[in-house]
Amino acid sequence: MNRAFNDRESQKILDIIKNFARKNSLFILAYGTGCGAIEIPPTITSRYDAERFGIRGAATPRQADVLLITGYLSVKTLKRVIRAYEQMQDPKYVMGFGSCTINGGMYWDSYNTIKQLDKYIPVDVYINGCMPRPEAVIAGFVKLQQLIQQGKALGWKHYKENLEWYRQNQQKVIKNWRMPDYNW
């Protein structure tokens, strides 16, 4: 029975099904830190209804697939974000909202915010705008779904493979590093 599975052809079909399921049922963990948190309710509820795409809120990182970073991240919140990210289960994606996650945005010269989210956790989709409107958010989601469909949203694998690099960046910024190790 194993021979049939790891043969190229059947593996491909399986991946297609998996990606189709992952694409159409995204459970988001809204880590509403910055000003973007207010954009998420309208996108989910009746005005823009993200649920049509199978996108639903998830209460805990264990149940979630997508981690939304909706704004600037101070060093302190970065530590919580990393912990939440590491608690999520594996095919997990990160969407960065707004310019603050891209290049520090309006807090480009502030002493305690992180400028580039990418250095700390792998981001799959950025949505620019100093807080993107719900339409932009839904466009972001659709982009993420296409990436998943093509199997290219592999931020989580990237994080797993060069964990050291990420750890150095993170410890450079976070001083009292009292975090449990990410035991694979």
Partner: protein
């Protein structure tokens, strides 16, 4: 009734139960969405959710009991489904319904919930523990009127087994819903509580308790849990239909009946606000208890 036949019918019934249950949940989300003036996900959305959970790569568990938690639920759900007579009269779909006894079913229900509660306990998450205590307290609230209703029916029709009840209703072409209305009313009022719908979903309150007992379950565990939940829901609906609405002789008729009952539950779920635990218990012991007592009086007099 050889073993293979039994196994085959069991598998078919479970699959049917699973599919119907999950589609009911999908329809429920659709109706809730439409009530909230939005399109809502496609009906098969729950299938996708379950499939996504099953396709999760990593799998996090806190220990043996946590690993076994969903198994108690799925074992209970399937067993109850097999015991409750889905198709009256059909040899193939008889499953274990000859064993069907109301007290047995009432005692099977907590089997899953307590097993799952132990797994939840091992995760160590305080929110989930609080959720479980609320779930058990509500169980006390909802079980008593339901049991009184069932006992009233049992005594009126002088039998404790579900199949007998269905046989009586089929033969006399009456529905117990009409012949003992108070028992039906009591059971109906208590039904939303048994599905943790509407005012009684304080157990899995997402904001307050981070989805209560489910908070540490992810990936495959949550998948199994949701499928078990749907089968369990369908089993409870068929039980209700069998006892009060004459059971069914073919699947289509069963689906129609169960869905109408489920509509009532969805309606209550949408309209009613969420209640605190003691308010819920007091409400459950309010009107439903009155109806149950009336049912007893009705049985005692006639």
């Amino acid at each position: 009734m050889n073993i293979w036949n039994l196994l085959l019918s069991a598998i078919v019934t479970t699959l049917l139960g699973f599919i119907i249950g999950v589609t009911y949940m999908g329809i429920r989300r659709k109706i809730v969405a439409l009530a909230q003036n939005r399109y809502g996900p496609p009906i098969y959305q729950n299938f996708l959710d379950i499939l996504k959970f099953w396709s999760k790569e990593s799998n996090i568990y806190h220990g043996v009991m946590h690993h076994l938690a969903p198994l108690w639920m799925i074992a209970m759900a399937i067993t109850i489904l097999l015991i409750v007579p889905t198709q009256y009269g059909s040899k193939f779909f008889e499953n274990l319904s000859f064993n069907g006894d109301l007290i047995l079913i009432l005692y099977l229900m907590p089997f899953g919930q307590l097993g799952m509660a132990l797994g939840v306990g091992q995760t160590g998450n305080p929110n989930s523990a609080i959720g479980v205590t609320r779930g058990l307290s509500l169980l006390v609230g909802s079980e008593i009127p339901f049991i009184m209703a069932l006992i009233a029916v049992m005594i009126q029709y002088h039998t404790t087994s579900v199949t007998d009840l269905v046989r009586i209703q089929q033969e006399h072409h009456t529905w117990i819903m009409f012949s003992s209305p108070f028992a039906f009313l009591a059971a109906l009022c208590v039904l939303p509580a048994m599905f943790h719908a509407g005012p009684y979903e304080v157990i899995i309150a997402p904001a307050e308790l981070a989805s209560g007992p489910m908070s540490e379950f992810g990936g495959k565990y949550l998948g199994t849990m949701m499928s078990a939940g749907s089968i369990f829901m369908f089993a409870k609906l068929t039980l209700f239909v069998d006892v009060f609405m004459g059971g069914s002789t073919n699947w289509l008729w069963l689906i129609v009946k169960t869905f109408t009952v489920y509509l009532f539950v969805i309606a209550v779920g949408i309209i009613m606000p969420r209640l605190r635990t003691e308010q819920a218990i007091r409400r459950l012991w309010g009107w439903p208890l009155v109806f149950a007592i009336l049912a007893f009086i009705q049985v005692a007099l006639f």
